[in-house]
Symmetry: C2
Subunit: 216 residues, 2 copies
DNA sequence: GCAAAAGTGTTCGGCGTACACCCATGC
DNA sequence: GCATGGGTGTACGCCGAACACTTTTGC
């Protein structure tokens, strides 16, 4: 760093983690209820101050694990906000990340205070600070990532049907997709490949199972 | 911010500004020579600590103005690095930005120490800290931005010829482009529009001048 | 009239999109 | 045998890429 100037400021640095999941065809985000000032009683994106010796990414991974019990999933830096808490006199810098988790692997932290809870993205309550903006940026980024990466691997179990995959895409994009076009496009990417297994359920033809090639 | 945890760290927060320009068909980046520890004598991306009461963006704007005298140009946040200066005991957080400037509007700071200087992107010297990584990310982002935004407005005077615009694109993308396809594609975007003016130079047909519609 | 850069159209392949029917199974 | 979701093929429009000649000017 090129610290040419004196008069440096020592703001607090925190990470925020926007955690998305898709359940029953609905895109959801994990929020916590603040049970201490500032913004007591309001809902907010989970986050916390950097601890000693931690890198930014380590802090984000830790936060994600604390809230969901999940590790080793899609996690990417989003944006850094310099003015999330205007009340803070010496300023605060919030490094926002976003993560995608498979709802089946999640065990939410069972706290009474700061109780974490999933919210449908279309029904989020008013949020503390400028967390709405953070959420908007995260959602936009998620939509873009989905188009040209295999980010969805992180929202599904290792094996899944085409229908399950399409449900995830439709939930995130917020619109229905054509089944035939979807299959063709996804198979053309090499993100996924068919397995030799099938899943039978209900009185209809069994569905072939696929897996992400980036995993095993 | 959701400061749930104690043991908070107070790292220094700095901004880095990767300043690009295109001169004579070459993509160049502004570097400064560090004349004080840490990393004395090495070249680095210009930056400095956040000053009191400043937002991150204000600090980036200030840095850009200090180094180039230029304001009101393309400036966008890039990425935040948590470990740029491993020597720093309490950690340091560097918020990197990238900027595009028109070489004709620039007046480089005339310092003897920290003397700023343009470097061809293919000939940058070894850099302090992990600044090579920052530069790589900035270059990748620049290439992407160019594809679907009018970011190039910031690298050219208000009026310019198609050839000048194409030179900028070729310098950034690092490959030659087809003149006819380039004109068609750019005019289709609505980023630029023809003016009624021409520029004569040399013994050949005069070139029509264009301008970015986002400016004036 | 010639050198030099500006300006202009067409063809082709790939990709996203729209769209409807047969298949395998359980009951 | 029928209800239920799984699975498949074709046609079209758009866009990016390849490619060569004419126009306008200064000397």
């Amino acid at each position: 760093m090129t610290t040419e100037t004196s008069e440096a400021r020592r703001p607090t640095v925190a990470v925020l983690v926007v955690i998305f999941t898709v359940v029953d065809g609905a895109l959801q985000v994990l929020l916590i209820e603040r049970s201490a000032p500032p913004a007591e009683g309001q809902w907010a994106i989970p986050g916390g101050a950097l601890q000693h010796g931690e890198t930014l990414e380590q802090a984000a991974v830790r936060k994600l694990a604390e809230e969901t019990g999940v590790t080793d999933l899609f996690l990417e830096q989003l944006y850094t906000f310099g003015d999330l808490d205007p009340a803070s006199s010496d300023g605060s810098v919030g490094v926002a990340w976003f993560a995608l988790v498979d709802p089946n692997r999640v065990r939410l932290a069972q706290r009474t205070a700061w109780r974490p809870q999933w919210w449908d993205l279309n029904e989020v309550p008013p949020l503390a600070f400028d967390n709405e903006e953070v959420l908007d940026i995260a959602r936009t980024r998620l939509i873009n990532k989905l188009q040209y990466t295999d980010a969805a691997y992180s929202l599904l179990p290792t094996m899944f049907t085409m229908r399950e995959l399409q449900d995830v895409y439709e939930a995130i994009l917020g619109r229905p997709l054509d089944k035939r076009n979807f299959r063709r496009r996804l198979l053309a990417t090499d993100f996924i490949a068919p397995t030799s297994e099938q899943r039978k359920e209900g009185r209809h033809r069994p569905a072939r199972l696929y897996h992400f090639t980036s995993r095993s």
